[in-house]
């Protein structure tokens, strides 16, 4: 019988990605529901020493495939490795981060394993029989659908970074580290990696910010927002409209087609709060909204709502901080 909740733990240059840790958190909740194990699947080259961190984040078992073929992300090699380990162990659930790696690998695997895959889930729940309920936005976030995969195993889904909460790092937690060997078929891996180049963009990561000073259409001049962000040790983010207008770069966009954030304080200036935007920030600890329109939907998720001209408030904040 299919058993256990598996997490594909994405690493880049040997660094475990945050989304993998977030997934271990939700995997713990799902596994506890049916008294099963959380299993971390770690693929890469010279990555075995990271396995103990995955245990500390809640994995009961870490299955490691350490091979030079997995040094760079190559779809075929990664697919071969996951397929072999999954087939030998028959997990009930496999979760992936909805990154440019997870969203490449997971659909390939779903076809290879002939099972269902649900993309970009925002909520995962499990019943006592081990059936997974996967809720995801559809039609640009206008609708939420709960998807099930009743007759195929493993049940697979991807979850976007920042959607689930990171569990605590607990060195007391015990887990087993198991080295797996995979029988690779090199003849299938015909795509050649000529080079891999890291892009060191000088953009602050909005997903790591404690305070976000977020601007929308109602902010005509974004310069004071950058000054305010600097003064509160925060970062500037934005809604889609300013990105489409070319005023703010895409890496700062919050929402359905941008990033999901959960800062300690989210300051929404001149953002009306389209559902696509709310989907990306509603989990913030504390939300302050400033907008001239008293009926703006952003006020429905705010903890503090101020009806005022957002640009003027930003200028004033810049002055008094």
């Amino acid at each position: 019988m299919s058993k256990n909740v598996w997490v594909f733990c994405e690493q880049r240059d040997g660094e475990i990605q945050n989304v993998a840790i977030e997934l271990l958190g939700v995997a713990r909740e799902l596994a506890d529901k049916v008294n099963e194990k959380v299993v971390a699947l770690l693929l890469g080259h010279n990555v075995t020493d990271k396995a103990k961190d995955l245990v500390a984040y809640g994995a009961d078992e870490v299955r490691v495939v350490d091979d030079s073929r997995l040094n760079y992300f190559v779809t075929e090699y990664y697919a071969q490795a996951v397929t072999q380990v999954v087939k030998a162990n028959d997990p009930n659930v496999v979760l992936f981060g909805a990154t440019s790696i997870g969203r490449d690998l997971a659909p390939r695997l779903s076809a290879r394993l002939h099972t269902g895959l649900t993309a970009d889930c925002t909520k995962l729940e499990m019943d006592e029989e081990g059936n997974l309920f996967m809720t995801r936005p559809a039609f640009g976030g206008n609708l939420f659908a709960t998807i099930i995969c009743p007759e195929h195993r493993p049940q697979m889904s991807t979850v976007r970074p920042g959607v689930m909460k990171k569990p605590e790092y607990n060195t007391e937690h015990q887990g087993e580290i198991i080295m797996e060997t995979v029988d690779f078929d090199d003849s299938k891996a015909v795509v050649k990696v000529v080079e891999e180049v890291r892009e060191t963009k000088n953009v602050e990561r909005i997903e790591d910010a404690k305070i976000l000073v977020s601007c929308g259409r109602g902010v005509k001049d974004v310069a004071p927002a950058f000054d305010v962000a600097k003064k509160v040790k925060g970062t500037v983010s934005s809604s889609r409209s300013l990105v489409d207008a070319g005023i703010i770069e895409h890496a700062r966009q919050v929402g359905q087609t941008g990033k999901t954030v959960r800062p300690e304080a989210y300051l929404a200036f001149g953002i009306s709060g389209a559902i696509q935007h709310l989907a990306g920030m509603e989990e913030s600890e504390y939300i302050i909204a400033v907008n001239t329109d008293v009926n703006a939907p952003i006020f429905k998720v705010a903890n503090l709502g101020i009806v005022c001209d957002a640009g003027a408030v930003l200028k004033q904040l810049d002055k008094i901080l």
């Binding site: 997971a106 659909p107 076809a111 099930i148 195929h152 300690e264 005022c308 001209d309």
Partner: protein
Amino acid sequence: MKIIVCIKQVPNTTEIKIDPVKNTLIRDGVPSIINPDDKTAIEVALRLKEKHGAEVVVLTMGPMQAEKALREALAMGADQAYLLSDRAFAGSDTLATSTIIAAAVKKLGADLVLCGRQAIDGDTAQVGPQIAEHLDIPQITYAAAVDYDEERETIIVKRQFEDRYQTLEAKGLCLITVLSTLGTPRYMNVWDMVAQDEKEIGIITFADLDLDKANIGLGGSPTKVKSTATKQFDKTIETVELDPEAAARTIVDALKARHLI
């Protein structure tokens, strides 16, 4: 070189509204468009055609109305168009859809398959890689640039990640999913608009393909929609109307109270 471009007709999601009583999408009056990433895939195919010579075939699955999307692709300069349409295909999830499209690609034959990265109605990005797996060919997703080296008969792709890129090379048949940032799709041109009128759109049905009913349609889909809901936001807070000075002061106080500044 024969290039098959897989496209999808989608409702323009930015114009979708929800019926608050029935909890359903109001599609009336919402225009259907070629999915933006897919339109870029057509553009990439046409550029390869201009540079290296190629036959560009567009393929879509959907109801008969999807013909409009194919006509637009022809008017952009595609050579042939096929519509996969059959009641047996209805209700397919991504895996079942990819099974059907893969069977059609196999039947039509191709040297290169192009798709958009993802469609704006579902945002799953799954069908491309699933087609590639069914065809047992390599996939390259998130393509930010696509080139072809005639001498070496090699496709060269810049594969984009969040924090890096890879330059990848592939020989032989492969499937590439492209990002819409790769290139702005051209407009339909008068010449091709007239010419497309003369062209027939090939209809491909279940009977034309080597398919098992157990793997397609609603019944052949591993995933099922259990329920749908609109998002309810239930926080009801008082909004206060303040002048900019008082507003700024209130914000600073609130952040200080939470020890954030």
